[in-house]
Chain length 214, copies 2
């Protein structure tokens, strides 16, 4: 099996937004309430951020338990790492993900402002300016035969879709409307020229959208 | 997360049969046509027996790709290993699974007729007479912190269900009627006193049944 480029558990409002307007340190999703987008995942047994036992093992859990499955590296946009714009003013701040980030692989953060790599628990963050192709090449090497996750946000997923570098994509659509913010699509059908699409409603109310390259 | 006991990709007819009548060397599923039960899995990209590239990456593929995910051992009934009954007459015959069995972990075969362990590629077969609890204890140790798969057939799954040792169970129900053979249930509702159940129809025509312990 060749190495794949995968978007996983990418959370979207019914009207196509991955986050709201006005991202800040206190509000990573801007005006959106992250619980409305993410609570389906938090309810599952294998949610990577879960700290207590329990949780569901139904359909939604297949998606959260696939998060680490054969993934060897992640590429994320700068806004998924933190709210800063422009040059880094405080390199002591090590991102939104706490002392034990859920990635547990090398993570490549796309930014025009490089800074030194550092590790938190099993995750190492690298900061790279480069084309999607160039950063993907480095991520494939770091993944050592395993797949590379495109972690988001919306702008980063769109960059990799535009460069035709995405092999599979799982988008979890929540029953909420955001009206403004970062938009991935007007309709999932926008992508069906290049991708197969299966639409799978979950008992949780989430609708899973599964894309794979034609 | 504690070690779990998982039934995965267990294939059933709509009327509840896992295999037909009259198992033989030539017909592992008796009068049933295994293609009718298993073709949904063979169509996916991650079917463990796949030898050529390609395949679908939709809902069904989440189930086949979960086959190896955090599994450290399998327990199977003797009839999943081969069609022989009674004492082993020919220990040179090493089972139905070829030179490269898809399990890639220790496999414990339940039998009243022990024989020496042997390895084929990454899979080692052990032959054990013992209660489900005793064999599970050994499988947990062999799994080294990972989960144990109950591989079937029907009689073996029923033994572990009866002993209340199953934590999660995925049953893939195919649109075919077998009428006779090895029956797992009259209705999936038989199990909902002890298990949560989600029923998820797939675009392939298979209906996935997901059980987890209450």
């Amino acid at each position: 099996m060749p190495q794949l480029v995968r978007v996983q558990n990418f959370m979207l409002s019914r009207d196509g937004f991955g986050s709201g307007e006005g991202q800040s340190l206190e509000r990573p999703f801007g005006h959106a309430d992250p619980a409305q987008l993410a609570s389906w995942a938090g309810a599952t047994a294998h949610w990577p951020n879960r700290t207590d036992p329990g949780g569901t093992c139904g359909l939604d859990d297949y998606f959260t338990r696939d998060f680490h499955n054969n993934i060897g590296a992640e590429i994320m946009g700068r806004n998924k790492f933190g709210p800063q714009r422009g040059p880094w003013e405080n390199e002591d701040w090590q991102g939104w993900w706490g002392d034990d980030p859920p990635f547990r692989t090398p993570v490549f953060v796309l930014t025009h402002y490089p800074r030194p790599s550092f590790s938190l628990s099993d995750t190492t963050f690298h900061f790279r300016e480069g084309s999607p192709q160039e950063v993907l090449e480095e991520a494939f090497q770091a993944a050592d035969g395993r797949d590379v996750r495109i972690g988001g946000g919306v702008e980063t997923v769109l960059e990799f879709l535009d460069a035709d570098l995405v092999d599979t994509m799982h988008v979890a659509v929540a029953p909420v409307e955001l009206e403004r913010g970062e938009r991935l699509w007007r309709s999932p059908e926008d992508l069906t020229d290049r991708f197969h699409l299966e639409v799978v409603p979950s008992p949780s109310g989430i609708v899973h959208h599964l894309f794979w390259r034609k």
